[in-house]
């Protein structure tokens, strides 16, 4: 029981990171109906920006307190958002009127460009930082097994939930959110009604990238290492999470991320670790066979 609880904590903390990145995939899909394959790499860029900021802060002697973490988070969100905006401007907007597969290919191209750019600029080795957030709390002691939650795990859960609450509010309650939802339903009609669709799409990318930066910072703080290829590995999992939860649905993305984190963790906990990815994808396939739109996705209504 204690063991299962510990694995639950491990799985939730992992799943939250997947969920945060999955939101970026799902938002972009929702608004322009394309998979932004460069999103995983945007996440990796976010982690690298945080890494550089942390190193600058520590060498500058400003230490690594909560203030420093907040500052790093904001810097990373700002810089990464700029990357997100540029990617959309350079690789997707010029292809918007083109056939469906064109932006998909340029997205894959962008992903390769970002990876190689970081590899060249930052080197090919995994970059470590020293532990910033340390310590853990023992929650419960049962059957000789101490269940503990580290400060970082708690921080990930709190930050993810807070960020999601903010963005849910943004999408459901503000005029920007209304514009986004309008573009999602019918971009041409929204344009006719006076919504600046290009600007709305840009902002969607900026928000997605900022969320990826939050995930990148949390990832860096949690594991202490980032490598230029991390965006691909984590990106694939997050994309899967978005599809699992129902692509286009914000709560679905988080739910998908959580489930993937939990399936991976519990499979590793009780069965062969080697087959955890196989298990995850088998469950994904079964889910999609019975619920083709994912867990919380809505069936696309054919517009006549």
């Amino acid at each position: 029981m204690a063991y299962a609880l510990q694995q639950l904590i491990n799985g939730v903390a992992l799943g939250m990171i997947y969920g945060l990145i999955a939101v970026g995939y799902t938002m972009v899909y929702g608004i322009i109906g394309m998979i932004n394959f460069a999103h995983g790499d945007i996440f990796m860029v976010g982690a690298f920006v945080s890494l550089i900021s942390f190193v600058l802060l520590t060498t500058g002697g400003w230490g690594a307190g909560p203030g420093a973490i907040l500052l790093v988070l904001l810097v990373s969100m700002a810089v990464t958002a700029l990357y997100g905006w540029s990617v959309e401007r350079v690789a997707y907007r010029p292809l918007r009127g083109s056939f469906r597969l064109a932006p998909l290919i340029s997205a894959i191209g962008m992903s390769i460009v970002l990876q190689n750019y970081v590899q060249v600029a930052q080197g090919a080795r995994a970059k470590p930082i020293e532990s910033v957030v340390t310590g853990s709390v023992e929650l419960w002691h049962g059957n000789g097994f101490a269940v503990s939650i580290s400060t970082m795990q708690a921080l990930i859960v709190v930050v993810t939930l807070a960020v999601l609450a903010i963005f849910t509010w943004l999408v459901t309650k503000t005029s920007l959110g209304r514009a986004m939802r309008a573009c999602e339903q019918d971009r041409k009609m929204a344009g006719l009604l006076g919504i600046d669709t290009d600007r709305t799409i840009s902002i969607t990318f900026v928000i997605g990238a900022a969320l990826a930066a939050v995930a990148g910072t949390m990832y860096l703080l949690r594991y202490g290492v980032v490598h230029f290829s991390d965006g691909f590995l984590v990106g694939v999992k997050a994309f899967t999470a978005a599809v699992f939860g129902g692509i286009g649905s914000l709560p679905g993305a988080v739910l998908g991320g959580l489930l993937i984190g939990l399936i991976e963790t519990f499979w590793s906990a009780y069965f062969s670790v080697q087959y955890k990815d196989v298990a995850t994808f088998v469950i994904l396939v079964i889910t999609l066979v019975f619920m083709p739109t994912g867990l919380l996705g809505r069936a696309e209504v054919e517009k006549v």
């Binding site: 063991y3 491990n10 949690r222 202490g224 670790v273």
Partner: protein
């Protein structure tokens, strides 16, 4: 006018011909040798060590008049520890007519590359690939200056069984040729010495979150984790284990012999043990060469001297055989010897393995490693 033009034409035709002839002449007087290993990717640090060793070797040999009166030219190949890239690098190097390849680093690269070298008639001496399969295939051209996993695993397994008798041990590996080979050999030696592991499992290299596996080890009350794998994952595993409040000792193989391990593990790496040959930098036979490295501001750590020794043996054998023909050099390397190298005298058996491996334990303390007394 016409004459002038003709002369000019003649000159333009003649000039490149002379240049080519000059280049060909220079080529005839040089011997190409190669270093191949990961110059990019997660293991780039080891490739850099190997390149330093090879560069120093070529400089030293050329300063001493080259091999058989010919100067050496060093080619480098980057395999990024990717088996497919290793094969294409091997083909490239063979195409450039190299006589010997000092490399590769990862066993997973050395083994497929060796097939290419066998076909193309290139000698291969790996300074680092410890998987038994590399020389076990019985090819004429494969050698190594390092030990083998079964030798390394035998030392580690015996030590664990003796030191941690009655304690609980987990054996993990990353499913790579190197990692699994090492973990299996260690497990075999440990079991033979009377200690059975609680958990034997594989993890996925390249991931960052090993908490699920670690909680599993924690539930089994594991005291010792043996990792057959590379430094990034080993560093993360020990860091996350200590974060979960486990009091464990991590034990690994030669891949943990890099400062990057400590950068990733942080203080959690304190007390980590690993098997490696006794530090070649401290051997009396290496003193002179180490001084030459240091004069260039390079610390010949890790595999630098193993690469250097590999080249030394090849050069000595070529001199003895009085040819650089790879087959005849390979025969000489096996039949003659011991060869005097920076590592000390080295002889090869029929497979191309060193006859006297010397594995000892190293321990991480306060961010640096030292031979365990």
């Amino acid at each position: 006018m016409t004459i002038q033009r003709r002369t000019l034409l003649g000159a333009t035709v003649a000039a490149p011909t002379i240049l080519t002839a000059g280049a060909a002449l220079a080529q005839a007087r040089t011997i190409r040798i190669a270093m191949a290993g990961p110059l990019t990717g997660a293991n780039a640090t080891f490739g850099a060590q190997m390149r330093e060793g090879a560069t120093q070797l070529v400089t030293d040999l050329n300063a001493a008049g080259g091999v058989l009166g010919q100067q050496l030219v060093l080619e480098t190949g980057d395999d990024a520890c990717d088996p497919r890239q290793a094969v294409s690098v091997a083909n490239q190097l063979a195409g450039r007519q190299v006589r010997v390849v000092l490399g590769h680093y990862c066993s997973g690269s050395s083994i497929p590359a060796s097939k290419v070298y066998t076909e193309e008639g290139v000698l291969q001496i790996s300074p680092a690939s410890t998987n038994p399969a590399y020389t076990d295939s019985g090819a004429w051209n494969t050698f190594r200056t390092c030990g083998r996993d079964d030798q390394q695993g035998a030392v580690a397994g015996k030590y664990i069984a003796e030191t941690y008798r009655g304690r609980r041990v987990a054996v993990l590996h990353d499913n790579s040729a190197y990692g699994k080979g090492l973990a299996d050999e260690t497990k075999k030696a440990m079991n033979a010495a009377g200690l059975t592991e609680q958990i034997y499992a594989a993890y996925t290299p390249g991931e960052r979150d090993y908490n699920a596996v670690i909680s599993r080890l924690k539930a089994a009350n594991v005291d010792v984790i043996y990792v057959g794998g590379y430094h990034t994952e080993a560093g993360l595993i020990v860091r996350q284990a200590k974060e979960q409040g486990m009091n464990v000792t991590l034990i690994g193989g030669d891949a943990l012999m890099t400062n990057e391990f400590w950068q990733i593990s942080g203080a959690a790496g304190e007390g980590t043990l690993m098997t490696f040959s006794s530090d070649p930098r401290k051997r009396p036979t290496a003193a002179e060469v180490v001084a030459r490295f240091r004069a260039r501001n390079i610390d010949p750590e890790g595999f630098a001297l193993y690469t250097y020794a590999a080249g030394q043996i090849w050069a000595e054998a070529a001199k003895k055989a009085n040819t650089v023909d790879p087959r005849r050099v390979a025969e000489t390397m096996k039949s003659s010897g011991p060869w005097q190298t920076v590592l000390g005298p080295i002889s090869f058996d029929r497979k191309g393995d060193v006859t006297v491996p010397d594995y000892v334990f190293y321990i991480w303390k306060n961010g640096s490693y030292a031979e365990m007394s």
